[in-house]
Structures are given as structure tokens and as C-alpha cells.
């Protein structure tokens, strides 16, 4: 019932969405992971307690997180143009997606790292570990299942956000649904877009859960 042109548009939309989510997720992780770890270890009574850093970084993260995504996209257009050279298109859309993803990822990583038992940190300190060694050898490996779960959550959120970047000509499945499904009254396109998004989110979630289970050695049956 879908014309070949629409099928082509669906495939292109899916690839655009995957492209935007993958790139912004990857760069967001590169930025968010260290920030999340730093937020966790600079908190009160933590390894590298540092109120000034914690408060300032926490405020920056909160500012970005409390701006509605669609506002963020428009508000940072000059920044987007600086980075991507343009403010229109898939590559341009990656900039606001990354700006939204990084603080989100920072918070989920922070939570995962905070969940690590304080006793493990103490044990490592008693062994004469440096703070950097504690982060690398204790906190990150022990927080890994939580981090994977958090990154999965971030990826799912990014799929949702990516639907909004149609506002700046970002393309992708969301854009397809709005332009064809809504503005051209093609309910079957809307339905197809929704089904593809549901399947995509399902796959992301299941893969994330599977990886999180694989790396979690806490509940093994003997």
C-alpha cells in the first residue's frame, strides 16, 4: 500500500535517524561520561571532593537539561552554524542533539557511579590506589552495568529528540512523519513511521538490556 517512493523515503529517514542518534550519542558519551564521573567523585565526602567544580558543573548540566529541546535547537543556531558550518540538515541537527545528550548522559553516568559501594573505594584506598586508578579500576568497571542501562535510556531519548530536529530541516523519521503523514494527510505514512520508530526503540532497548546483563556479574547463579 506504500508507494516505492514512500518506502525509499522511509529507508532514508531511518538511516538519517540512525546517523543522528549514533553520532550525537557517541559524541555525547565522549563528553558526558567524563563529566558524569567528575560530578560523582567531586560530591560531598567523595574521592575528590570539590564543591566549586561540583556546583558549577552541576549548574551547567541542569541549565541544558531544563531547556525544552525544541527551544534548545533554535536557541543555539549560531553555535550550530559555528560547528557544522550550516544550521540546516542532518549534520547541523547533530549539534543540538549532542548538546542535549551530553548532560543527560553525564547525569545517568553520575548516578551509576554513585551507586558503587563506598566500601570498594575504601578497599582500593587501603591498597594504595591513586584516585585515577580508583576511577579506572574500581568505579568504571563496577558502574558499567548501570552506565550501559543509562546509555540505552539516552539512546531511546535521542530517538525521540531526533524527531524534533525536522524544525531545522534535520530529516529523519520524525521529519518524514510530520511532513508527509501530517501536513500532506497521508495517515499510512504516519503509521509506518510510528511502527518503524517503535521497532527501532525496541531493538535499542533490548540490545542495551542484553549488554547490561552480559556485563553485570552481580547476580550470577552458582
Amino acid at each position: 500500500m506504500l508507494s516505492p517512493q514512500i518506502i525509499d523515503l522511509l529507508i532514508k529517514g531511518l538511516l538519517d535517524t540512525l546517523h543522528m542518534v549514533a553520532v550525537s550519542g557517541a559524541i555525547g558519551t565522549l563528553i558526558g561520561l567524563p563529566i558524569g564521573v567528575m560530578l560523582a567523585v567531586t560530591g560531598r565526602g567523595e574521592l575528590l571532593q570539590n564543591f566549586a567544580f561540583n556546583k558549577v558543573m552541576g549548574a551547567v548540566v541542569n541549565m541544558t537539561r531544563s531547556t525544552p529541546f525544541i527551544i534548545l535547537v533554535v536557541a543555539i543556531i549560531p553555535f550550530t552554524r559555528l560547528i557544522a558550518g550550516t544550521s540546516i540538515g542532518t549534520n547541523a541537527a547533530i549539534v543540538p542533539l549532542t548538546v542535549a545528550a551530553a548532560p543527560f548522559i553525564a547525569r545517568v553516568v553520575e548516578n551509576a557511579v554513585r551507586e558503587v559501594d563506598r566500601g570498594l573505594v575504601e578497599a582500593a584506598q587501603a591498597m594504595g590506589a591513586t584516585p585515577f586508578q580508583i576511577i579506572r579500576k574500581v568505579l568504571l568497571p563496577e558502574a558499567l552495568p548501570g552506565i550501559v542501562a543509562g546509555l540505552t535510556l539516552s539512546a531511546v531519548s535521542l530517538v525521540g529528540y531526533s524527531a524534533m530536529v525536522g524544525a531545522v530541516g534535520g530529516g529523519g523519521l520524525g521529519d518524514l512523519g510530520i511532513r508527509y503523514g501530517y501536513q500532506r494527510f497521508l495517515p499510512e505514512v504516519m503509521l509506518a513511521v510510528v511502527i518503524v520508530l517503535i521497532v527501532l526503540v525496541q531493538i535499542v532497548q533490548s540490545t542495551g538490556d542484553w549488554i547490561a546483563r552480559r556485563v553485570n556479574k552481580r547476580n550470577l547463579k552458582s
Partner: protein, 350 residues
């Protein structure tokens, strides 16, 4: 090996109240190869005290000497190096859930930058020592509590420390496993000559493996000395409350009713004679009746063993006049046994 001098630890109270004294006036001296126990109820400060030895808690004032090094004077890097020679085990084991048994034991060596081949050479004998060679590729979640603590012990020994700190290492274990772990610690102490400092709230742990003990209350050490002496002659009421359940120094309730603190008409003094160490087998009772013509009516007796040495108590009623009783007490003391007047037995009502 470890000398703590005049240790104080004070926390500023939240909200500007009076500061909290977690530790006060602590002086401890722990000899090389000793198993030194610190006992106290929760909140007594024993955990804080243990952590001052490797400076996980830095004291507000005082000196911490470990193996001739003043710990409080070290830089951060020097302190980390010093910690390589102080192993530590924990009540909740604190193993990394993401690492196998082998990798958990290897962690302190990895941190110290030890080459892989040498790590293997060190870790494998340690797994044999704690009896977990067959579990080397298992994860902590697959082990029982006792096995987890064995991993903890192997990990603590990996950097070949001179001192082992034990933070309630058996408190999360069942009695049988506790005994096994304590025997393992005693064995390590003997075989490796390791100095062990352990804290516990269980007097049975002290009785089982410690040579010396310090009793803590309210952030202070209220009594310390060789385990045998503390068990035989506890002075502080708190110490007594720890010791009494395992060493029965008391008098049966049926006889307690006849005991009065003051002499009364027709009363006889009741003495407690304590037999300790090699004197425990002296035939002092028969000597008293033979030489002093003083009959002793035995009320209650008990023999225990503390640290492999016999320790006996005998509660007797002396059936004779005061002069003979004084002479009997002198005779007991001559034999280096302990004796004290518990009270006076009123004549039984007929």
C-alpha cells in the same frame, strides 16, 4: 610494629554543636607478629581507630608509627606506597563484583604496577593458601560468605604486607565459617609472622586467636593487656560484661541468695580462688585443709582454656575463724594464685 601515641580524633558537629570526640587519649603498642584484638560495642570508636593505622582516618592529633615510619608525616604518594605493606579485610568483603576471584586478588598488584607474569606467580600460591584454587575464574556473586572472605584475605596478602588490619572480618559469617576464617588468620599469623590487628564486637573472636586485647568504650581504651590477664582479671565493668558470658566467673543463682556483703551472726567468708597458667594445677585446697585445719566447702568450680593456657575458678566457703581464713588467703597468694572475698555466707535456714 605499630605504635599509636596520644591519638585524638575530633569531628566538628553539624550545626555548631559541641565537637564529637570519636577517639581520645589512645596509646597502643602492638608488637611484631602479634594478633592484637580491639573489642567494643558499636560506636565505641574501634572502626575509626583501626582506620587510623593506615590513615584512612587521619587523627586530629597524635602519632601513628607503623614499622618505624611516622604515617602522619607522609606525603600522599608516600602514604600510598606505605599502604602496600598494610593489608586490610572487611566485614562485607568489598570485593569487586566485576572481577573474577583471580583478578580480585591481583588488583593490589596491578595497582602497584607489577608485571603480569609476576602477578600470576604471586596470586596462584595465595589462592592455594586460602583453599580457593578451583574458584579462580568464578565471580564473587558465585561464592559463599566464607569463600568471599578468603578471597579478601588472599587479596590483602597479595602485596606481601607486614600488617593485616581486620575490620569485623567474621561478623557477617555464621559461627562455623567464623571459626574456619579465624583458624586461617591464626595460621597466616604463625606461618608468615604477620602482625594482625582486628576489631570485633565478639569476645569469642578475641578468645580464639588474639594474644593481646584492648577494650574500647566511648572513644577511649579502657583496658588493655594480654588476653589471658584480661579474661582472668577484668577490671572495668564493660570488660566484665564482655568476658562473663564466655568465662563463667559467677556464682550459681541458687547460692547467690545466701551471700551477704556484710558478715552476720554465724556467717562464713566466701572466697574465689583463681588458678591461672602453670599454677593452675597447684593442690592448694588440700594444702589449706591439711596445714591450716580449715575446711573448705566447695560451692562452684570451673576450668576454661584461654589461648591454650588453663584458667580455673573455685568458689569456696571457708568453715573456720577469721585468723585461719586470713592465713589461708596468705597461703593462696604465696602460691601466686588469685583470691578475693566475694561475701559472707549466712547459715542456711533450717
Amino acid at each position: 610494629m605499630i605504635t599509636l601515641t596520644n591519638i585524638h580524633k575530633t569531628y566538628a558537629a553539624r550545626g555548631g554543636g559541641a565537637p564529637v570526640h570519636a577517639l581520645a587519649d589512645i596509646d597502643l603498642s602492638i608488637g611484631r607478629g602479634e594478633v592484637f584484638g580491639i573489642i567494643g560495642r558499636s560506636g565505641a570508636g574501634k572502626s575509626t581507630l583501626l582506620r587510623t593505622v593506615n590513615l584512612l582516618e587521619s587523627p586530629s592529633s597524635g602519632s601513628v608509627m607503623v614499622d618505624g615510619v611516622e604515617m602522619t608525616a607522609l606525603s600522599a604518594a608516600e602514604l600510598r606506597r606505605a599502604r602496600h605493606s598494610i593489608g586490610m579485610i572487611f566485614q562485607h568483603f568489598n570485593l569487586l563484583s566485576s572481577r573474577t576471584v583471580f583478578d580480585n586478588v591481583a588488583l593490589p598488584l596491578e595497582l602497584a604496577g607489577t608485571p603480569k607474569a609476576e602477578i600470576r606467580r604471586t596470586v596462584e600460591p595465595l589462592l592455594d593458601l586460602v583453599g580457593l584454587a578451583d574458584k579462580r575464574d568464578r565471580y564473587p556473586a558465585e561464592l559463599s560468605g566464607g569463600q568471599k572472605q578468603r578471597v579478601g584475605i588472599a587479596r590483602a596478602l597479595a602485596s606481601k604486607p607486614k600488617v593485616l588490619l581486620s575490620d569485623e572480618a567474621t561478623s557477617a559469617l555464621d559461627p562455623e565459617t567464623t571459626t574456619q576464617i579465624l583458624h586461617l588468620l591464626a595460621d597466616i599469623n604463625r606461618r608468615l609472622g604477620l602482625t594482625i590487628v582486628l576489631i570485633t564486637h565478639e569476645i569469642a573472636v578475641i578468645k580464639e586467636i588474639c594474644h593481646k586485647v584492648a577494650v574500647m568504650e566511648g572513644g577511649r581504651v579502657i583496658e588493655q593487656g594480654p588476653v589471658f590477664d584480661i579474661f582472668a582479671h577484668p577490671r572495668h565493668p564493660t570488660t566484665r560484661s564482655f568476658v562473663d558470658p564466655v568465662i563463667n566467673r559467677g556464682i550459681p543463682d541458687s547460692l547467690r541468695g545466701r551471700l551477704s556483703p556484710q558478715p552476720g551472726p554465724g556467717s562464713n567468708p566466701v572466697l574465689r580462688i583463681t588458678f591461672t597458667g602453670e599454677k593452675a594445677t597447684t593442690p592448694v585446697i588440700s594444702a589449706i585443709s591439711r596445714h591450716l585445719d580449715l575446711d573448705l566447702n566447695i560451692w562452684h568450680g570451673q576450668i576454661d582454656e584461654i589461648q591454650g593456657a588453663p584458667f580455673g575458678t573455685l568458689v569456696v566457703e571457708a568453715l573456720g575463724d577469721q585468723a585461719k581464713v586470713d592465713a589461708a588467703m596468705a597461703l593462696v597468694k604465696e602460691n601466686n594464685l588469685g583470691v578475693e572475698v566475694l561475701g559472707h555466707a549466712l547459715p542456711a535456714n533450717h
